[in-house]
């Protein structure tokens, strides 16, 4: 099985932002919308200053909270692990934007739908690499098959000791980073517990509560009608008797 993933070596990144530009171009995005954003950190005092940049985009999580939260099934995961948005099904409710711990999702202005990095799946079909990988000047990005133990990406992940960021959210992301910057945990994004509470407990319980209410009322109707009819019959019987 193929399972696509990416390695981003931010120690090689030169902050040229070309990946974002090529991504915007290939996806025909509006000029102020992008699927890649950057976390930057500056260290030291002039003239000994060090700048680090960490490009962040959709991590194509194995346990994707966006897929779990999408009410229409517009967000889905392909067999090769790529998470996509089916625009025909998207209704712009933005639950996925709330759910994503990586802020990787963007509301498009033109039709108010939500989109994000799609690992350039159309380029992959042509045998090309994703646009951001193709364009990266310092070759900080490596794309490949995580299921193949001999792939370049797997070898490099081991060699450079690359790890996913924000793994504490336990979404099993598929982008591995070599980084000196710590991405700050966003406490307001720690909603994995809440999302499963909603989809695994609240929704089925809601169905049961309302079903129980209807069933109880139906039972009441049957009993109350029977009792009433019986009483009326007895009444009539007595009247006739008299």
């Amino acid at each position: 099985m193929t399972r696509y993933g990416m390695l981003i070596d931010s120690t090689r990144c030169v902050s040229c932002f070309a990946c974002r530009l090529s991504c915007q171009t290939i996806n025909s995005l509006e000029i102020d919308k992008a699927f890649i954003h950057f976390v930057e950190k500056e260290e030291g005092v002039y003239p000994n200053v060090k700048v680090q940049t960490l490009p962040i985009q959709c991590q194509h999580c194995e346990d994707a909270p966006c897929v779990k939260n999408c009410p229409t099934g517009a967000s889905f995961q392909r067999k090769d692990g790529i998470v996509l948005v089916d625009e025909e099904k998207c209704i712009g409710c933005k639950y996925c934007i709330t759910a994503c711990p990586y802020d990787a999702r963007v509301e498009l202005k033109k039709d108010k739908l939500v989109q994000k990095c799609n690992f350039c799946y159309q380029e992959l079909e042509k045998g090309n690499q994703p646009a951001c990988v193709q364009t990266c000047i310092p070759e900080a990005r490596i794309f490949g098959d995580l299921d193949d133990p001999n792939s370049e990406i797997n070898i490099e992940i081991k060699k450079r000791n690359a790890k996913p960021i924000l793994s504490q959210y336990q979404t099993k992301p598929k982008i591995y980073y070599v980084n000196e910057i710590k991405v700050q945990e966003q406490t307001e994004k720690d909603i994995a517990g809440l999302t499963s509470l909603r989809s695994d407990l609240i929704k089925p319980a809601a169905g049961m509560v309302m079903g129980a209410a209807v069933a109880g009322l139906a039972a009441n109707y049957v009993v109350a009608t029977a009792v009433k009819n019986k009483e009326e019959k007895e009444k009539r019987g007595e009247e006739n008797h008299e």
Binding site: P71, C93, T187, I191, R198, I202, G207, V214, V223, V227
Partner: protein, 234 residues
């Protein structure tokens, strides 16, 4: 034929009630379409955007009517009745299961609203407030991230609880074989004297001097006559 009725709900009361009712039904149907995964796929189509607009229209009806009522109706504080509880309410709750299944007496005399109605009123007030505020927060993006998701869960829970109670309300007022007569009161504003005496004795005693009317029903028309001291001799 003529019958004696008690005036129960003014035209303003009824407009408020039916506006909230229409809003609530629109809201719950359109809301559950997106809540349940299966039906949510309906929203992809053109019907989808219509459903979402209906949800907003429902919201406006549901929220605006009580606000207008609170601002302009003379009976604006009527809802405070729902907070007045005493011993007879406990007696009512104990006797209610038997009464609603098998019928029979043994219910303590009730005011304008019986204990069950007060309970529903309370749920409608608190649940409605939670629904409205959380709904506006979701509509106008007041919050983001985790807070927004908690607001969504509050919206879910208050909706589910309120809909379950709404089923009970709908059932008792229009389907239950012994109680469905009470539907008349919210439809016409009038309650049969007999029913009022039996179901709301304390309230009936308060208003029997002032709010009784005689309705004469001919084949084609019905006339409403206020009861004066002249014809009170029944």
């Amino acid at each position: 034929m003529s019958k004696i009725y008690v005036k129960r709900y003014s035209i303003i009361d009824r407009l408020m009630h039916w506006s909230v009712a229409l809003g609530f039904v629109l809201l719950s149907i359109t809301g559950f379409v997106i809540f349940f995964q299966g039906s949510a796929s309906l929203l992809n189509s053109n019907i989808g955007s219509f459903i979402r607009i209906l949800h907003r229209i429902g919201a406006v009806l549901f929220i605006a009517a009580p606000i207008l009522y609170l601002l302009f109706s003379k009976k604006r504080w009527a809802w405070s009745e729902a907070f007045k509880w005493d011993k007879s309410d406990i007696g009512w709750l104990k006797a209610a299961p038997k009464h609603y299944f098998i019928g029979g007496d043994g219910m303590p005399p009730q005011g304008k609203y019986n204990t069950g109605q007060k309970l529903y009123y309370l749920f409608a007030l608190i649940g409605g407030l939670l629904l409205a505020v959380s709904g506006l927060a979701l509509w106008f993006d007041w919050f983001a991230g985790k807070t927004n998701f908690i607001v969504l869960i509050i919206h879910d829970l208050s909706a589910v609880i309120l809909v379950a109670f709404f089923f009970v309300h709908l059932y008792l007022t229009s389907i239950h074989p012994r109680e469905r007569k009470s539907f008349e009161a919210m439809a016409t504003g009038m309650m049969e004297e007999e029913y009022a005496k039996h179901h709301h004795e304390r309230w009936y005693n308060e208003v029997k001097e002032t709010d009784l009317v005689v309705i004469e029903e001919n084949k084609n028309s019905s006339k409403i006559k206020p009861i004066t001291s002249n014809n009170l001799s029944h």
